[in-house]
């Protein structure tokens, strides 16, 4: 076999391998760690690197216009109900890239950050499991399989949030998270059962092809969106998020950002693909104006998004705990994605809608990187000073040069300042949302400015100012943490400098996948 054939075979099997490699690696980790700790760390990083290789291999082909399907347990999909099917379109590949980058940064960061902890074998096992779960959620084409991966992700992430069991608050946050996710996941399963009862299928494409929008479908839609939005941390269901983000170890928080976005992906998949064929159906006709499903759904999402942005920013302003503050900023950032996608949904089919979708999707990856970088910086400060409260910090820029630079990059990116990536996506969001309703755009810009204010405050109180006597001997954090932060910073600046490149090559296929579900359906119906 020559190299091209090998690559072709790998490409064909990569949807399965992307999930299988971290899953296998997870359960090999305890064995490998019998040798010694260094070998284990290298093994985990190699596992993630291999996963990333397959993600990029698959993504490069998907972005070229092919949708990949992978059927488990059979060569062909003869009985669509029974087989588990992975289906990768532009959106799935896009989300998988985010999960890949985040998990890579998280394991590199953990090398030094978690060094002094015990039980690291389990830590890395859970981390790989969580990565596998996230990727599975993003790649699967089967509703029940989606539920299973959702549970894998939430069990692994809950155990990781409560990893520092010596801290009562961390365990409490873990319990809150598992209670929320367990209830959310059970209701997702309930909705899946409702769909299965009517259409005798679990495959997303088959369901989307047959869906009638009956009364039961309406219930299922509401349950699915509510449960998944709860897991994505949309206000008013965001209470668990600041606790979980704030109490987990920093590298876990980075992965949690990815897990939240996997749920976000679930919301998009349900709205745009599962119910995609019914989006234009008329719900009601009030004196000449027809209300269609997409405008109603979009309006609800936009309202939720605006509330989310406002509450997130307001709460961030008054926090004194660094990580909780970033967590609330993360809530606000999720609001931006929902705002853009909701606005895109209300005007589905127009040019404005396409721009809004592009902005929203571009913002998903930007948010993951920006907020992730800030969490890593917060973790670095915690590592160096053992402080979480902003009141006890000050003058850190003297001793932690690189961390300060990374924080500045993250700050500018989150606040949407040029030349960072946050600007590139937010300007797209402002522009397109303005055409839907100017008020939305005004609120979005205002909250962006407030976000800048939030982080300028942090910058001033933590990095500038007089040297604190008890922080005199603070040292710069170890290399692995700097590498992880540097990796994300480089991507942030690259995306900020060449937004066109990213939008045209990566974001556009994902936006196309949202805008129309016909190719997603026909791919599977063709396989059958």
């Amino acid at each position: 076999m020559n190299i091209e054939q090998i690559l072709d075979t790998l490409l064909r099997h990569s949807p399965a391998l992307i999930v299988a490699i971290p899953l296998l690696g997870a359960f090999l980790t305890p064995l490998i760690s019998k040798i010694n700790d260094k070998v284990r760390n290298v093994f985990v990083i190699l596992t993630i690197l291999a996963t990333n290789f397959f993600i990029f291999l698959l993504a490069s082909d998907v972005f070229a216009g092919n949708i990949h399907t992978y059927v488990f347990g059979a060569k062909n999909l003869s009985i669509p109900v029974v087989r588990i099917l992975f289906e990768v379109d532009g959106l799935s590949a896009f989300m998988a890239i985010i999960a890949g980058i985040l998990s890579l940064a998280a394991v590199i960061y953990s090398w030094s950050f978690m060094k002094e902890n015990t039980g690291l074998n389990k830590f890395y096992t859970l981390m790989l499991l969580m990565t596998a779960g996230m990727l599975g959620m993003m790649l699967t084409g089967d509703m029940f399989n989606f539920f299973v991966f959702l549970e894998i992700t939430s069990i692994a992430s809950c155990a990781l949030i409560a990893f520092w069991t010596n801290k009562g608050k961390a365990v409490e946050a873990g319990f809150k998270y598992i209670a929320i996710s367990a209830i959310g996941a059970l209701f997702v399963l309930f909705a899946i059962a409702l769909l299965y009862a009517q259409y005798d299928a679990l495959n997303i494409a088959v369901l989307a092809n047959n869906i009638q929008y009956t009364f039961l479908d309406k219930i299922a839609l509401v349950i699915l969106i509510a449960a998944l939005a709860m897991k994505a941390g949309i206000v008013p269901m965001h209470m668990w998020l600041p606790d979980a983000y704030g109490r987990a170890p920093a590298s876990v928080t980075l992965l949690l950002v990815g897990a939240t976005q996997a749920s976000l992906y679930g919301v998009f998949r349900v709205c745009f693909t599962l119910y995609g064929s019914q989006l234009n159906s008329t719900l009601r006709n009030i004196s000449g104006t027809t209300i269609t499903l997409n405008s109603l759904l979009g309006t609800i999402i936009v309202i939720l998004a605006i509330v989310t942005i406002l509450i997130g920013v307001m709460m961030a302003l008054k926090q004194i705990d660094f990580k909780r503050m970033i967590a609330y900023a993360a809530v606000a950032e999720i609001g931006y994605m929902f705002l853009a996608v909701g606005a895109g949904l209300t005007t589905l089919g127009t040019a404005v809608s396409m721009n809004a979708l592009k902005g929203g999707i571009f913002h998903i990856i930007n948010d993951a990187l920006d907020v992730g970088l800030l969490f890593l910086v917060a973790g670095a400060i915690y590592y160096a000073t053992k402080q979480t409260s902003l009141n006890n910090m000050g003058g850190l820029a003297r001793n932690m040069k690189y961390t300060t630079v990374f924080f500045l990059i993250g700050l500018l990116a989150v606040a949407g300042m040029p030349p960072m990536n946050g600007f590139a996506s937010k300007i797209l969001i402002y522009e397109s949302v303005y055409q839907v309703n100017p008020v939305l755009s005004i609120v979005a810009i205002l909250c962006s400015i407030l976000l800048l204010a939030v982080f300028i405050k942090v910058f001033h109180s933590a990095f500038l100012g007089p040297e604190q006597p008890d922080l005199k001997d603070v040292k710069e954090v170890p290399k692995s943490m700097l590498i992880a932060m540097g990796l994300i910073s480089c991507i942030i600046i690259f995306f900020g400098l060449f937004p066109e490149l990213v939008v045209n090559n990566i974001v556009q296929p994902a936006a196309n996948a949202l805008a129309s579900n016909t190719s997603y359906i026909s791919q599977v119906m063709g396989v059958i």
Partner: protein, 119 residues
């Protein structure tokens, strides 16, 4: 009417579970509430699989060509339920272990008394 009883039971289980999760202050009772919801959802799946007068979906003593193939209930929801039960056990174990940790830290299971200043 008689065939609707399982669905009524499903609704009752889920609602009682939700009530426990939302209004009870004891962590163990919250966990019980979540398991009740889970039982409700599992019962729902099993009920969906049942067809009137059907037998369990097990082939025995029948060749593929024979005429009297028994009328069977659907096997797929059974498989889903099994998976869901296994996941439920894992979640339950994790929740209870967290409850143990919380009790060790705070000496109480009352939600209102958690979250003091001490770390």
């Amino acid at each position: 009417m008689i065939y609707n009883i399982p669905f009524i039971a499903v609704a009752a289980l889920v609602l009682i579970g939700l009530y426990a999760v939302v209004f009870k202050r004891n962590l163990i009772k919250i966990v019980i509430g979540i398991t009740l919801i889970e039982s409700g959802v599992n019962l729902f799946l099993i009920t969906l699989a049942y067809r009137q007068d059907s037998t369990a979906p097990i082939w025995h003593g029948i060749t593929a060509s024979s005429n009297n193939v028994p009328f069977m209930s659907l096997p797929v929801p059974h498989a889903l339920t099994l998976t869901s039960i296994v996941i439920g056990v894992a979640v339950l174990a994790l929740m209870l272990s967290l409850v143990i940790h919380i009790y060790r830290h705070y000496g109480t299971l009352n939600v209102n008394k958690l979250g003091g200043d001490e770390e």
